[in-house]
């Protein structure tokens, strides 16, 4: 079954860029997860201040540029994982956070066969 994982954070807290050591460790982790047949796709997102919302209300479109007022936003990275069950997805997420540092990741199952 597939799981979509993404990190949530407070966009008003300035994020420091990852150190070269962290980048290297994360690179190894991504390699490990790919080799295990778990990581199907992954990516990073531009800061939420640069985000844009497209809203349709009563048939009318509104386009709103960020930043937005919500406290927690989807920040940073996301990953699509193929795991045998949710416990495996949780373990992979723990391994990710062990490298990324303190933070919050959400895992949601993707509907599938």
């Amino acid at each position: 079954m597939q799981f979509f994982g993404y990190t949530l954070g407070d966009p008003t807290t300035p994020m420091t860029g990852p150190s070269p050591e962290l980048m290297e460790e994360m690179g190894k982790f991504i390699e490990e997860a790919t080799k295990a047949g778990v990581l199907l796709a992954t990516g990073g997102l531009a800061p939420v201040e640069e985000a844009t919302k497209v809203i349709r209300a009563d048939g009318k479109f509104t386009v709103v540029d960020g930043p937005f007022a919500e406290a927690k936003e989807l920040v940073g990275g996301w990953a699509l994982m193929e795991c045998r069950d949710k416990d495996e997805a949780i373990e992979w997420t723990k391994r990710f956070l062990a490298i990324a540092g303190d933070g919050e990741s959400t895992i949601r199952q993707v509907y599938g066969p």
Binding site: M1, E32, T34, K35, A36, G37, V38, L40, A41, L80, E82, R84, D85, D87, E88, I90, E91, K94, A98, G112, P113
Partner: protein, 397 residues
């Protein structure tokens, strides 16, 4: 990180299982022994981790514990002296503790060990069913009960099959290694065959009421993806992965109301998984780049890709499919391939061209009793406006 739940620990153990057994099999040269030692380490983890939490380098933790158990057993069991003496020496050389260095060395060697395990579990000395069971058990991390459920045989039968397979490997003196260049092609074929068999059992289950078993497809896909990372230069591995990714992309669309199968041309293509299609096309492209366009799996993947690329059934490149089937048919005789080729030819060049091919096939002694032949023949005769002959052909009236 304390009071880990049982489920969390089991997940970790399952994730580490294949690499653990692979590493131990290299140390001991004995698959059965490797599995026993791995099991001991798992028991230790289930005892200690609920309190201590799952260690960061859980794989290395399990490996170290398993090797220590090996040495302990050696002191109690003289018969296994030789094997354990080797482990003891290796362990001394490495030092006693789980160190970061050990962790690193562990992950560097592990790819080779996993590949050895793949080739050993799929060794041709084993019957096909034994290869399948052993592969799912050792590499897929499935329990004996899960394998038994997937194949609708009793747990006892499955356990027997696995025990006997390990005994056969030991008796045949199969070395725990990646085959040399001379043997490699044939041995790799055996590995690919096992993975595709697992996939197909999931894709069109022969046992049970369910028309598909997606979990088995996913187990096979995962094995294929792992193998592709272990052997990146093997075109047929990418070909097989491409084929499975594209076929798996249709799983949701293949089951209609009440779970009844929906044929390819009748499927709602909006329900095809685009991510899997793209992964499949990428794997196929890799196989072709590596010079493997004519490999049987790459050819089948290329055929599947023709369908995947068509957003509507009428966009399907039938002449290309017919051509690919012709290449495939030229490699090895297969009734299924011949018949599919005839269907593709009829789609590309009209029912008469397909019928000509089917009539050639009818003359083949090997195909005389092939049950799908009359129905395809009948279908083509119907399309040609010859219903009486269609009826006599035994096809749809």
């Amino acid at each position: 990180m304390t009071s880990e739940t049982h489920a969390a620990i089991e997940a970790v153990v399952r994730m580490e299982s294949a690499r653990l057994i692979a590493g131990l099999a290299r140390y001991t040269g004995d698959l059965g022994l490797a599995e026993e030692l791995a099991q001991d380490a798992v028991v230790a983890a289930l005892e200690q981790w609920p309190e201590s939490g799952v260690p960061r380098n859980s794989g290395a933790w399990l490996m170290t514990v398993a090797k220590r158990r090996a040495v302990d057993q050696f002191r109690r069991n003289r018969e296994l002296r030789h094997k354990y003496a080797q482990i003891g020496r290796a362990l001394e050389a490495e030092g006693d503790a789980v160190t970061p260095d050990f962790d690193r060395a562990f992950s560097d060697e592990i790819d080779d060990d996993l590949l050895r395990l793949v080739f050993t579990a799929c060794h041709p000395v084993l019957a096909v069913q034994a290869r399948v069971a052993l592969t799912l058990r050792l590499l897929g991390g499935l329990t004996t009960a899960e394998i038994a459920r997937a194949y609708l045989v009793s747990e006892a039968t499955t356990a027997q099959r696995i025990v006997r397979a390990k005994k056969t490997l030991a008796q045949a003196g199969v070395p725990f290694e990646v085959p040399g260049p001379q043997e490699r092609g044939a041995r790799l074929s055996s590995v690919l065959e096992v993975i595709y068999l697992i996939f197909n059992e999931g894709y069109s289950a022969t046992a049970g009421d369910d028309w598909t078993r997606p979990a088995l497809c996913q187990d096979a896909l995962r094995l294929g993806r792992i193998l592709a990372e272990l052997t990146p230069a093997e075109p047929e591995v990418h070909g097989l992965v491409g084929l499975m990714e594209i076929q798996a992309s249709r799983i949701s669309a293949r089951a209609g109301p009440g779970g009844r199968p929906v044929l390819l041309l009748d499927q709602d293509r909006a329900r095809w998984d685009r991510l899997l299609i793209n992964r499949g096309l990428a794997a196929l492209a890799k196989a072709e780049q590596l010079g493997g366009a004519d490999g049987p799996y790459a050819l089948q993947a290329a055929i599947a890709a023709c369908h995947a690329r068509a957003f509507r059934p009428e966009d399907t490149d039938w002449p290309r499919i017919a051509g690919l089937y012709a290449v495939l048919a030229g490699q090895a005789f297969s009734p299924v391939v011949e018949l599919n080729r005839a269907v593709a030819v009829s789609m590309a060049y009209g029912p008469q061209a397909g019928l000509d091919l089917v009539d050639e096939l009818t003359a083949e002694p090997a195909l005389r009793d092939y049950h799908l032949l009359p129905s395809v023949r009948g279908d083509l005769l119907m399309k040609l406006g010859r219903p009486d002959e269609a009826q006599r052909a035994g096809g749809p009236a």
